[in-house]
Symmetry: C2
Subunit: 252 residues, 2 copies
């Protein structure tokens, strides 16, 4: 968690549309510049909390905060090896999503959002040939980018080898595959590998997959948008693994 203290730093982050988890304002803080920040934060759906000054001092770690502290998620990028750590006893089998060159930030954001909602532990993207973790991605993820680790790797096919050693099965989505996504066994620890828009998987990546599956599309426009395809496969995983989680009542 990063914290930003002072009017200038907070305003800069808001204006840059950097994803902020919340804005804390000391009670009794007045002035146009602070009111402007609060308006801006609300417009951007950043929750605003008013707290006693002493709590703001504590949260800011300093008294030089001009009455405002904002909290930003730390960089969501995480180490690939963190994602491979053994899962806690009793938890569902591992589920990671690997993107082989998804370049559209809207798609990347939507995939992060769907991956989180489907219970995946993280997303793995190559350092090259991929959308960066920009504000557009954060927005398209509807906030999921602050919650789901995204690991960047230099070499996707090497990362796939390491996943296999860690006990993962790698399933590639390939529209030419004979086996349907509903016919594969998704109850094992799983890495789902998706190709870039309109290009599919690179040969090296495809070869590294343990098996390939296709979604049974029909008609003249066969391929799905990659973020839609990710949703279809991820919720087939959820279905096979039980899929009995009911929506809780604490949603917003």
């Amino acid at each position: 968690m990063d914290r930003l203290t002072g009017i200038h730093a907070v305003r800069e982050a808001l204006e840059a549309n950097r994803p902020l988890d919340s804005l804390m304002v000391a009670k009794g803080t007045h002035g146009n510049r602070v009111e402007e920040l609060v308006r801006l934060a609300r417009k951007l759906d950043v929750p605003v909390r008013f707290e006693e000054r002493i709590q703001v001092d504590r949260a800011a770690g300093t008294r030089e905060h001009q009455g405002v502290v904002a909290f930003a998620s730390s960089s969501p990028a995480t180490s690939f090896y963190d994602l491979l750590k053994p899962r806690p006893e009793g938890s569902a089998p591992g589920l990671l999503v690997l993107l082989d060159g998804v370049e559209d930030p809207q798609n990347l954001g939507a995939i992060v959002r769907t991956s989180l909602a489907a219970g995946a532990q993280g997303v793995v993207i190559p350092e090259r040939r991929a959308a960066g973790l920009t504000e557009t991605v954060a927005r398209a993820s509807a906030g999921a980018l602050s919650h789901l680790p995204v690991a960047r790797v230099t070499n996707l096919s090497r990362a796939m080898e390491e996943m296999k050693e860690a006990g993962y099965w790698l399933v590639g989505l390939d529209e030419r595959a004979e086996q349907l996504h509903t016919e594969a066994d998704f109850k094992v620890p799983l890495g789902i590998v998706l190709g870039g828009e309109g290009k599919g998987l690179h040969a090296l990546v495809r070869e590294r997959c343990d098996f390939l599956v296709s979604i049974p599309t029909t008609g003249p426009v066969r391929a799905l948008n990659v973020s839609v395809a990710a949703g279809v496969v991820l919720f087939e995983v959820v279905r096979q693994r039980g899929g009995t989680r009911k929506p809780s009542t604490d949603e917003h």
Copy 2:
């Protein structure tokens, strides 16, 4: 099928990014303006065919075509009642997608694309509170808008009543529903009703549904993007109905 004849009409359509199925050019037609059209068409992924002049005359229905004829899909908007016509003997049960106020053209386009790929017969949208059938929608649909009928209705809940009379079951996607999308019977003639981004179904529309289902999402960001949710539900329909269609080899 609309046809556009002459350099000016074709160029105008290409520049407006109107979805064109193909461009026919008479063999032996020369000149910068025609070459420019061909370049532009290729850039926009419009297939270009070179034919004998006599065939171009025939296709154009006139000799005043300056060597170029383009073919555009007729307006993809169709009558709602056409969509309710009885299905041919032996075909799959009806499948329509109803959008209750999807306002983002990217989402509308992606939903049209996914609906076509899942074998739906059409999409129904309200005249108000919906994205229009713009070029952005056509592009986001990856060409599917030229193939799948989209019917605009003045009153969505009245259209739902007429679907019920025609034997359709109406299932609404509602994240608060107890029943999961995988638990419902999707083998009957089905209208899938999806709410707008972040707003869900309107009360009147929700009440008209025969049943409501939710996708079992987890974690802090519960809702899926509406086009992803559409894909998850539509391919659950495909799975329940057999889902054995293999990709053909004629894909591009």
